[in-house]
Assembly symmetry: C2
Homo-oligomer: 154 residues x 2
Amino acid sequence: MHDVDTIDIAILKTLQREGRISNAALAERVGLSASACSRRLDHLEKSGVIKGYHARLAHKALDYRMIAIVNISLSGQFAKTLAEFEAAVKLCPNVLVCYLMSGEYDYTLRIAARDLEDYERIHRDWLSALPHVVKINSSFALREVIDRPNVGLG
Amino acid sequence: MHDVDTIDIAILKTLQREGRISNAALAERVGLSASACSRRLDHLEKSGVIKGYHARLAHKALDYRMIAIVNISLSGQFAKTLAEFEAAVKLCPNVLVCYLMSGEYDYTLRIAARDLEDYERIHRDWLSALPHVVKINSSFALREVIDRPNVGLG
DNA sequence: CGTGAAAGGGTTCACTC
DNA sequence: GAGTGAACCCTTTCACG
C-alpha cells in the first residue's frame, strides 16, 4: 500500500489524537518543515493509510445515553441472506458498528439509544424486523471504560 | 449540558464526516459567516459536545487485519476489583473499546491484532494476565459491515 | 528528502447591528 | 445572537540544495 516510516508513524499518532491540528503545528511536533510535512500528509491521505477525519461527539450531550451490544443469528449463511440482512441493518441510524462474526452468533452490533424506551422501540421496529433473524441477544453498557478510535501505534 | 440548535446539528453532521474541513468551508456549508461559525465551533468544543477530532487509519495498512470481540467475567463486582481490572486493561494498546456490561459477562472488549498469532500472544500475555479474570470468551470478526464514528444525526 | 520564500487563502479580532 | 473588514497566521507550491 505504502511504506510508512518512523516520521509517518509520528504523524499518524498525532493525527489520531488531534485530528484538527494545523499542518504547521504538526510539522513542529514531528520535527519537519511545514512543506515537507504537508507533502507527507498528502501522500498518507492519497495512499489510503488515512481514511478520513471525524469529530467524536458526546453521545450524552446529544441525549444518547445508552449503548447496547446486540448479537444476532440468521436462519442461514447464504450470500443472499447475509446481503439482505446487511442492506437492512445499514438503514438503521442507531447502529454504530456491525460485524459479521465467527462463533455462536452471526452478527455483533453496537447500538446507541436515547433511553430504555427508545431502545425498546429500536428493538421492536428495527431489530426484530430485520430479515432472516432467528435469535437476538441484547446486553447493555453500564459504563464506557475505553473508546479509542484506533489501535495504539508503536 | 448545552443547547444544540439546528445549525449546531448541521455543523456536527459535517464535522463527523469531514473532521478536517476548514472553518471557512464549514461556514459556507451551514450558511454562516466564518466568524459566527468559528464562535459556534468554539462553544461546541468547550461545552464538551465535541470530544475530539481523530484521523481514521486503515488498520490493514498498518497490518492490523484482525478484530476480536472478547467477553470477560471477573471473580466479583467489588469496586476495587473493577478498578484494578480497568487500570490493567487500559495499558493494553490493542484494546480499542471496553465497556462494563450488564448480563452474563462483566466486560466486552474490541481488540485489534495483526493476525491470529498476534492475537494468541495478546490473549496469553495480556488478557489472561488481567487481574480477577475468571472467564474469557473470544470471537472474531469475519467482515466489517458498519463502522460509524457516531450515531446518525437527524 | 529537505529548505525557504511568496502568493493565496483562512482565522480571529474589535466593532457594529 | 450574526456580519464586516483588517491584521495576522497558515497552507501550498515552487525552485533549489
